[in-house]
C-alpha cells in the first residue's frame, strides 16, 4: 500500500504550540505574575438562551419515539436551510434551497471542498494566511502561489493580471489580519476570476463582525460572484458555536465548469462522504436566526466589539499601525521599534505579562507583525491595554 506522499511535504505547525510552551514556561518561572492571554482565537461567552432552549427541546425530541429523528437530510433540515436563506435575503442575496449545504463547520468544508477540484490547478493564497488553506492543498499536491499582503496594501492584496490562478482563497474580514475588502475591491477579484475561469473560495467566517456598510457581508452581494464563488460560512464566531460545530457552504447553480455543475459535484461529495449534522446542533443553529436569537447574539457581538475597540484605542494612542479591530475580532499590529514578531512576543510577555500571536507564524509577510484578539473578558482586555500603554508610551 502506498501512502499519499504529499503528506510528507507538509510543514509542522509550530505556531500555537510554541506560544503555549513559552507561556507555560514563563508562568512556571513566575507563578506570582497574572498573565493575560490576548491570543485567544476561540469565543468565551456562553451560548445564548434562545439556542440553549432550542437544544434542550431537540434533546427532548430525541427521547420519545414519536419525535425521535434518525438520519437527517444530508444537506440540512429544511427548518435550518430556510432560516439561512432568509438571513441571506436580508443581505439582498437570493438563494435556492439546494444551493445551501449545512455542515459540521467551515474548517471541514474548507478542506473537503477541494475533493471536487482536480489536482492540477494552481492555487492562489494570500500571505499571511489561515494555515488550513495551504496545508489542505499541499495534501493534494497542488501548486500554490501567494498574493503578498503587506502594510502598503493594507493587508488586502489585489489581483495581478499577469499571474494565472485557478482557485483563489479570499477571507474577509481576514484571519489573521482583521482587514476587510470593500465591495469595489471584491468586484475586481470577481472580474479577475471570471476572466481566468477561476473559482474563488470565499471564507466569510467573520462576516457578522462587519458593521461598515461599504464592506461586503457576503460575496454574493457583488454582481458576478454567483458565477465564480463558493462561500464558506460558520456559526463559530457568530454564535459561539466553536464547540457545537455548525457551518454552511453556498455553491450557486450558476457556477459551472465546462458544463459541469459544481453544485452537483459538491452534493455528490457530501452525500457520499458525509451524513448530515446532529439534529440537536441544527435546532440550536436555527434558533440563531430567529428574532430573539439574533438580538441575543448581537449582545455577545457588542461585547467582543467593545474589547476590540479598547485594543484599537490603545494602539491609536500609542501611534502604532494596525489593521482590523473595527469590522473584525482581530487586531493586526506592526511591532514597535522594528522588533521581529517573536522578539515582540517575548518583550510583551516578560514586561507586560500579555500573550499575543506572532504574525510570522501565518506566513513570510507576517514577520514584524503581531495579532491580538477581542475574545477575552473586557476586564482583562482593559488591564492588558493599560500594561501595554505603560510599557510602550
Amino acid at each position: 500500500m502506498k501512502i499519499n506522499e504529499n503528506y510528507l511535504n507538509l510543514k509542522d505547525g509550530y505556531l500555537f504550540a510554541t506560544v503555549a510552551k513559552k507561556t507555560k514556561e514563563y508562568k512556571e518561572a513566575h507563578p506570582e505574575k497574572d498573565v493575560i492571554r490576548l491570543s485567544i482565537g476561540d469565543v468565551t461567552l456562553p451560548l445564548v438562551p434562545a439556542v440553549i432552549q432550542a437544544m434542550h427541546k431537540a434533546v427532548d425530541d430525541m427521547s420519545k419515539a414519536e419525535t425521535f429523528k434518525g438520519y437527517g437530510p444530508d444537506f440540512g433540515y429544511s427548518f435550518l436551510v430556510d432560516a439561512i436563506i432568509n438571513s441571506y435575503a436580508k443581505k439582498g442575496v437570493s438563494l435556492s434551497f439546494h444551493e445551501v449545504f449545512v455542515s459540521d463547520g467551515a474548517k471541514s468544508d474548507c478542506g473537503n471542498i477541494l475533493d471536487i477540484f482536480g489536482g492540477d490547478n494552481t492555487v492562489l493564497v494570500p500571505d499571511p494566511v489561515y494555515p488550513v488553506y495551504v496545508d489542505t492543498n499541499v495534501m493534494d499536491g497542488r501548486k500554490i502561489i501567494y498574493a503578498n499582503a503587506n502594510a502598503e496594501n493594507g493587508f488586502l492584496p489585489m489581483p495581478d493580471e499577469s499571474v494565472h490562478a485557478d482557485v483563489i482563497y479570499l477571507c474577509s474580514p481576514n484571519n489573521p489580519t482583521g482587514a476587510a475588502y470593500s465591495k469595489e475591491q471584491l468586484k475586481v477579484w470577481i472580474d479577475y476570476a471570471i476572466k481566468h475561469d477561476a473559482v474563488i473560495l470565499y471564507d466569510a467566517a467573520y462576516e457578522f463582525f462587519v458593521t461598515d456598510e461599504t464592506l461586503a457581508r457576503s460575496i454574493y452581494q457583488i454582481e458576478g460572484a454567483e458565477r465564480c464563488a463558493i462561500e464558506l460560512c460558520s456559526l463559530s464566531k457568530t454564535a459561539g458555536f466553536t464547540g457545537i460545530r455548525c457551518g454552511y457552504t453556498i455553491v450557486p447553480d450558476a457556477l459551472t465548469k465546462n458544463g459541469v455543475s459544481l453544485n452537483k459535484l459538491w452534493a455528490r461529495r457530501q452525500s457520499t462522504k458525509f451524513n448530515g449534522v446532529s439534529y440537536v446542533t441544527q435546532m440550536g443553529a436555527a434558533a440563531v436566526f430567529t428574532d430573539e436569537g439574533e438580538a441575543q447574539i448581537r449582545e455577545s457581538l457588542a461585547y467582543y466589539q467593545e474589547n476590540a475597540k479598547i485594543i484599537a484605542d490603545c494602539l491609536d494612542e500609542l501611534g502604532i499601525w494596525y489593521t482590523g479591530g473595527k469590522n473584525s475580532p482581530y487586531i493586526w499590529l506592526k511591532c514597535p521599534n522594528g522588533m521581529s514578531s517573536w522578539e515582540f512576543f517575548d518583550y510583551l510577555l516578560e514586561n507586560a505579562n500579555v500573550v499575543g500571536t506572532p504574525g510570522s507564524g501565518f506566513g513570510n509577510n507576517g514577520e514584524g507583525f503581531f495579532r491580538l484578539t477581542a475574545f477575552g473578558s473586557t476586564q482583562s482586555t482593559k488591564e492588558a491595554c493599560n500594561r501595554i500603554r505603560n510599557l510602550l508610551k
Copy 2:
C-alpha cells in the same frame, strides 16, 4: 479551473430512490392498503435515558461561562476516548489514547480515511457491498477489484492468493448481507494483508449485534491485526445515534508503511480538515459506555434482535435460504421461485404490501437476493411475516 474528472465516472445511486418511488406510487394507487416497510436501514427507537440526561447536562454546561466549552480536542474529549478504550479492554483489546479518533460518524471516516492513501493503490471490495466503499474510491480514481460474495461462500468471500490488493474493505457483520466472519476467517484475511503489505479497512458498525462468541467484535481481537488494519466504528446502530452523529476510528501505532506511521498521517488529516465533534454529542456518547447506559442500549438491541428472529423464523419455516439475522439487524434472503431482486420486490409489494430492498442494488452478486431489516416495530414485523408466510407457503 479543472474539476476532479473522476466524479464523472460515478454511477448514480438509484436503489433507494427507486424503492421510495415504487412504494409511493403503489400507496397512491392503493390508499386503503397498509404498506409495511421492512427496508428501513435506520434505527427507530429513541435515545436511551442515560444519553438524554447527559446531553441535557451538556447543553446546560454550554449556557454558563464557567462551564462553556469552545473548540474541543480535534480527536475527542478524554472522557469519551477513555470510555472507548475501556470498552475495547472489555473485548480484550488494549489501545493507547492517541490510537482513538472520535468523529462525526463512520461514513465520514470511511470516505475521509482515503486521503492518506495514494491514488495508485488497488482496492478490493466485496460484491455485494455498501456503495460508499466503491464511490469514494471512484472519486479518487483508484483501481477497484471485487471479491465475489455468494451463496456458495455464505456471502463471506476469502482472499484469493493469486490476486494482489493494497487496500481491502471488510464489513462484519456485513451490510447488506448480515453475514459475519469467524475469528479464523479474519485471521486468513490478516495473513493475506500482511503478506501483500495491504491495509484492511474494517467496518465494525454492526459489532454490537454479535452475540456468538466465535465471531469477532473487533478485528484487533485477532493476532496481527494491529499491523495491517484500521477499524471504523459507529454509535449509529449501537445506540441510535444516526441523527446525533458520532463514530470513532482506530489507527494503531504498529501500522506503518515504509516507516511512515498511518496514525500520524490520519492525525494530521483530521487536525487539518476537521475540528472535533460537538461537546453535547460527545457527552451523550460517553453515557453509552456507562453501566447504566450499556444496560439501556442492550434493551434496545434485544428489541431489534427479537424482530430479526421473527423474520428468520418465518424464512426457516418457509425453507428460504438466507444469511444474517442472528448477529446482525439484516436478513439477506434468496428470492423464491427464481425471481430476480426487482421481480420479488414488486411481487412482495403488490401481494403482501411489504417493502424490502432488492439485493441487485448492492452489486452484481446481489441479483436474485433481497434484504429485510429488523429496525421496524415488533408489531409490524410480525404482521409483515404473517403476510409473507401466507403468500409463500
